[in-house]
Structures are given as C-alpha cells and as structure tokens.
Symmetry: C2
Subunit: 452 residues, 2 copies
Amino acid sequence: METIKYVLDETRMPTAWYNIQADLPTPLPTTLHPGTGQPIGPQDLAPLFPMALIMQEVSQERMIDIPEEVQTIYRQWRPTPLFRARRLEQALDTPAKIYYKYEGVSPAGSHKPNTAIPQAYYNKQEGVKRLATETGAGQWGSSLAMACALFAIQCDVYMVRVSYDQKPYRRALIETYGARVVASPSEETHAGRAILAESPDSRGSLGIAISEAVEIAAQDVDTRYALGSVLNHVLLHQTIIGQETMTQLEMAGDYPDIIVGCTGGGSNFAGIAFPFIGAKLRGEQDVRVLAVEPAACPSLTRGKYAYDFGDTAHLTPLVKMHTLGNTFVPPGFHSGGLRYHGMAPLVSHLLELEQIEAASIQQLDAFGAGVEFARCEGILPAPEANHAVAGAINEALRCKEEGVSRTILFNLCGHGHFDMQAYTDYFAGTLQNYEYPAEEIAMALAGLPSVE
Amino acid sequence: METIKYVLDETRMPTAWYNIQADLPTPLPTTLHPGTGQPIGPQDLAPLFPMALIMQEVSQERMIDIPEEVQTIYRQWRPTPLFRARRLEQALDTPAKIYYKYEGVSPAGSHKPNTAIPQAYYNKQEGVKRLATETGAGQWGSSLAMACALFAIQCDVYMVRVSYDQKPYRRALIETYGARVVASPSEETHAGRAILAESPDSRGSLGIAISEAVEIAAQDVDTRYALGSVLNHVLLHQTIIGQETMTQLEMAGDYPDIIVGCTGGGSNFAGIAFPFIGAKLRGEQDVRVLAVEPAACPSLTRGKYAYDFGDTAHLTPLVKMHTLGNTFVPPGFHSGGLRYHGMAPLVSHLLELEQIEAASIQQLDAFGAGVEFARCEGILPAPEANHAVAGAINEALRCKEEGVSRTILFNLCGHGHFDMQAYTDYFAGTLQNYEYPAEEIAMALAGLPSVE
C-alpha cells in the first residue's frame, strides 16, 4: 500500500507555538508610534489588543504555550493531514517528491482559524465584549466570526465594499456565525465618512477597512481590534502548521529540500515555513524557502523595505516591511487574501537576511496549476493557494529537467469552494494577467512616510 | 482533556462494505423490466452498469471487499472524524450525548465520493470510456466528475436546468474536474427533445435528467450510467460511514440509542444506519433509527409503497419503493439533494419491516437547527444535513424534557459552503415552509404504473 496521507494522532498535536524571534540573528526593527515616529511600548498598543497578545508580539521566548481551551478547539480539525501528492507527481512525470499540508479541513475552510481562536480566547480572558476587524475576500472575517461565536464575543466585520457586493456568500457565512458585517467605507467611522465625502462610490480597500476597525476599537473600552495576518502574534499562531508538518515528515522519513508558500500578509507562509527556518537558523538543517506572491500585488518582489502604515488613515503603528505604499490599491484579481500593500515584518526581515526567496506568479499560471492539481488530487485549492501550487509544480518540473529528485513541501492553505466565480471566470477566458508599470509602483511608493 | 473527536487510524479503515441484504428477514421485492413488467436478471442491466456493480446490486453476501485501489483513494480523507458535539449539548442544556459523523472532509465536501470512486473504478476495470449521470444540486455531479478525473474516464453530467441556471458554482466545480455539463432537458436525447417540444421553458427535474443520462448510456457501447443514490450498490458503498462509526464509538465506549439521518434517495442515511440495523437484525444490539425527510418532498411519510419508475421517460427498471409518483416535481426548496420522488428500495423495505421510523421536517426548522449547530460547533452543514441536525436536536430536547440521557448519533453528510444562497435567503426571510395538500399527492400517485 502506497502511503498518501500522514496523520498525526491528536495526542501528538504541538502544545506550544514556535516563536522565530528567539532564533533571529538580528532583531526586528522597532515598531514606531504613528503620530510621533518614536518607538512604542506594549502600553501604547493596549487600546487595540489584549495584553497577552501584545506580549506575544514582542516575546523573545522560543516556545509559547497554547492554552488548554484553545488546544481543545484546535483538536476539532487538527492535526491537519499531510499528503504526498503521488498522483500529481505521476502526471508531471517528475522525480521530485511533493508533499502538501492541507489546512482546508478547518470549519472555515482555511488556516485562518489557527489565529482566530486564540485571538478570541485571549480577548475573552481579558473581558473584551466585542472585536472589530476588517476582511477582504472574507476568509479572515468568517474565521473570526466563528471564533467569536464559540467564545460568545460580539464581532463586527468591516468588509471591503467591492467584496461585500461581489462576494455575498462569504458575507452570508460571517452572518450565519452571528457577526455583524458592515460595508467599508461606512458611515460608522470618521475614517469611513472622510473617504465617502471624497468618493461616495468608493469600492473600499483593506487599508480603509483596517482604519475603520482600528478606530472603532480605539474609541470603545470594551472593544478590541483583531488582525488576520501581518503581525508577529498572528504568524506565531500559524506555526502549528509547520510544527505538525515536521513530525509528519519524520513519520514519512523525509525532510524538505524546498518549502513553498503563497504570501499576501504572510501568515500561512510563516505557518508552514518558520519552524523549518528556525532549524536552519540554529544550524540544524538547511532548507530553501520560497514565498510566491501574485504579480498583481508584488510587495516582496517589487515593493520597498521601508517603514509604512498598515492602513489608509494612518491609525496603525509604523512597521518596517516590504510595502507597495499604503495608498496602493491592487487591481481586482481573484486572490482576495493576497491583496494587501504590505508584508509581515517578520517575513520581510527574513527576506532581507536572505533566509527566504521570493517570486511572483501571474494569475493565469496560478489557476492553470490549481486546475491541474484538482484533477490529480481531487482537492480544489483556493485561488490564494494556487500560487503555492504553481510554485511547487515549477520546482517539480525543474527537478525533471535537471534529472534530480528533491523533496518539495507546500502549504495548501484553503479550499476554493467559496471561490467558484474565479474558476468560472478562468474557464470563460475573462481572467487576465497583470504586469505593473514601474512608474505606477514608484508613484505609490513616493507617498511613504519619511521615517528611517 | 475532554475528547471531542474520535479519529480512526487509517490502518483500521474498513476493507469491506457491509451488505444489509444478507441480514434481511425477508428479501427485497424483485426488480421488474420497464417494458414487460417481468422480473429482470443481471444481463438486462448490462447496457447501463458494469457487471461488477450489477452483481453487488443483487449480492446476498454480508461483506464485499473494497478494491485496493479504491481503498487508497478513500484514505485521502477517510476514516472521517466522529465528533462529540459537547458545545451543542451544553447550549441545549441536555443530558443527552450527541455524536456526529462528519463526511464534509471529502474533497467534494460530502459523502458522495464514497460511491463515486468505486463506481468509476469498476467502470474503468470493464473498459468503459464514458459515464453519463444526472445531478440536481450538484453534489453528486461534482463527486462523479472528480472520480472520473482520477480514473481518466470522460464524464457527462445532465444537470437539472433550474440548478444549471441558479447554481453556476456547482457547475463550475464539475467543469473544473474536467467533466461536461449539459442543461437538462437538452436537445441531445429523445427524452430531452420530447420534453422541450412540449414545454420549451421546462425547468427540468431529476426524473428527466435521469432519463437523458440513461438514454445516452443505453445507446453507446462505451458509455455506462451512474446513479448517486437509491440503488443497492450505491447504499452498499456508503456503509463504510457506519462501519467506521461503530469502531469510533467503541473507542468512546458508547453505543447509540438513536441514529438520525436525512433522506432524499437514502444513501447517506443508509451509510450511517445500515451497519447498526444489521446488528439489530442479527439480534446483537437494539437501536432506534430515524429517517428525517423534508416536508416538501415527503416520500417516506406521505408517499405510497409501490412499484414505480426511477425516471420520467420510464426508461429505468421498476422498483418497489416509497414514491410520490414519477411525475412529482417538488417545489424549489433549498435541499436539492433531497428533491427526488422515490426512496431507495432498501430503505423503503426497512420502513415496511418497522426497522426504521420516518419523520418530516419543515425547511425553516431545518435551517434554524443548522444555524444553531454552526454557532456551537463551527461547521456549517449543507441544507440536506440540516434535516438530520434538526432531528438530532429534537431528540436531545426530548431527553431534557424526560430527564433521561440517551446517546444520539447523526450523520453530518456534507458542508454547506456551496449553499450560501440558501442561508442568505433564510436570513432574508424569503424561505418558506411547504405543506402538501393531500389531493396534490393523491393526484401524483394516481399516475403510478399498475404493477403489483
């Protein structure tokens, strides 16, 4: 019998997250106050986040315990399966071994609950009554809504207007979990009203929706803000993906030569890669790590490593990251989860340290890879995950050309059952590639704050 | 630590299906030829099905081996998890223990691949080049399309016109797997053309789509027909659900007092219940078994136990079953998988033998239960599965009233990620209940063939 699945008994589910900050050769650049440009401390973030999450944001401890109650909920779908893509290998006729970790088995269909659950938990612990957040495509919004339902916290989701109108099904899922969905920009906030005054027909953006959610959280003592990617503590919570994978690959008697993940804000990529990068940083085992981003939102490959705001209204702290500029609005391509102007500071830092590589992929290539994958493996990937699939297939084909076998691991961060319009458009031939003119990117970057 | 999930190691996945025909106190009524009304033999079915499936249809063997190649594909998502719904129990404040088996982890999101995979396998074994089938909501069509992709068989799916127009996303999934989707009634068949000549705007029905697929299969030597429910061999393939559950409940040290499943054609219900009913028939262990159907398509509770055709054009054999009449077209309620005029002969037979009970549930109650379930358990059920959820909740509330603890098991046969329009309509208040006037049912039943 050929093994295609590596299942980890739930008693072997990791009980602590891995914090890569403990292994960095040089620390992350300091986070700065949005108003003063001066370094900020934990207390400055208290209006937005519960103290437990703030301490995780800055912690230098290597392992951080997962609370028992969070573990219990994780165990509903974790450990997630690791698959050997034998049928895809055969179709590609490659000597490479391809493994993929599948996060689509979570109730929300993606990796996002890995951080939504602990975020809701810590907020509940500190007496928070309501969480405000933003969502683009809706993967994050639905995951946080689910987590808030489990912990009986009210949840307000500011949903980018264009998604609110075009993706009513994600909105319906969020509402089924009992959360309130508000089209952003909205009349509920100063930030939203300011945008609407200028452009009554604004289609919104993640940057605007973040401004609204942050504003709501900052002004209400019982409300905090929750973010689905980018921040250190969010990436931390996702590392359970890579830790499980390490154990599963041990079961398979294997270790990756190459790890591939797709990047938008960086959280699923960090989840699969950081535990392996940690082993590399500690000199235990080498590995190539490849971040694949959409050509239509190329923060890692064409952005600038600079201090920038996370939002449009400049309410968030300034962090050093690869950014296309906080005014950057990507075109309407079909990977809503990857449409963000910035990249997680930790991922950006690792690229600067040359611990990871980055590449961009065109939309049509990503969907082509996703369809090939679905026909071989049965699982239909989310458009975001298609970027990782494409990256892995490219590496496997290189192995074939070079006549060498390598072990390729990628993260299949979610299923595409909510994204069928994208596949419909792909088959209808209405999807197109997008190449940014250099001057457009330069223009967006010109608006960066002048902080060093 | 409270256990909420019972995971079966894949080495303990059943390697044979359970055939309840071996344990029936009286055999199933004979199947009759559609033209002559005389009993038919295996050879009469050969134009439609491969011989291996025909032999399974009539087999009296208790256990039928699952081919190694089918097992390997099953293992991608099987054994599926059994959950203890502790958070739901708490919300209901019931002394009952509620377990649910979750089939939504399959790549297609439902239990349908359990039979799609072996059907594609046996057809491939016998050299079949193309499978023709029908689909309503699309769960079956997408599952067969996936199976055909894995075995490199061409797949033509006749999709009920109203679903084809209103559920483009299921259609997109089927096409992503490489199958051809045809709106039914179509111009491709005599059956379709006859309907269109009479009603050019026909919205179609499962009965019509079956006629088209059967006609295509019957006239092409390289093409066979595949059905997603109703038939004995289809129910057989689903019994892996109940067999796994038996072992998982053993791990939990428990045995169900009540088993609840939703019924359309009867396959997911049979899958969870038959292994337990078998134990009851053999006098090993008693259990109550409850089939829950939609009030808008009440074949078990308001249909007649009589010989009827499976399709509108009377191309299929005559089987004895609970039926609303082959001309019956249910209203457009939101459980496409339960919109069929007949019930599986095996399920019907067991109802006649008083081995199972049947109840119907209104659409709004089903959705109410599904939303409550989602907010407690995180998983969003398919509208079909909501009927089982509602049945289980009703039983749990009865336990509370009576102050007794019982062990309730139900089958959560699929997730609702493709069914968000239904939830949207539910929250918008546009869904309604449906109670059939007795005379309407009597009228549909008046058209039954006069065969005893």
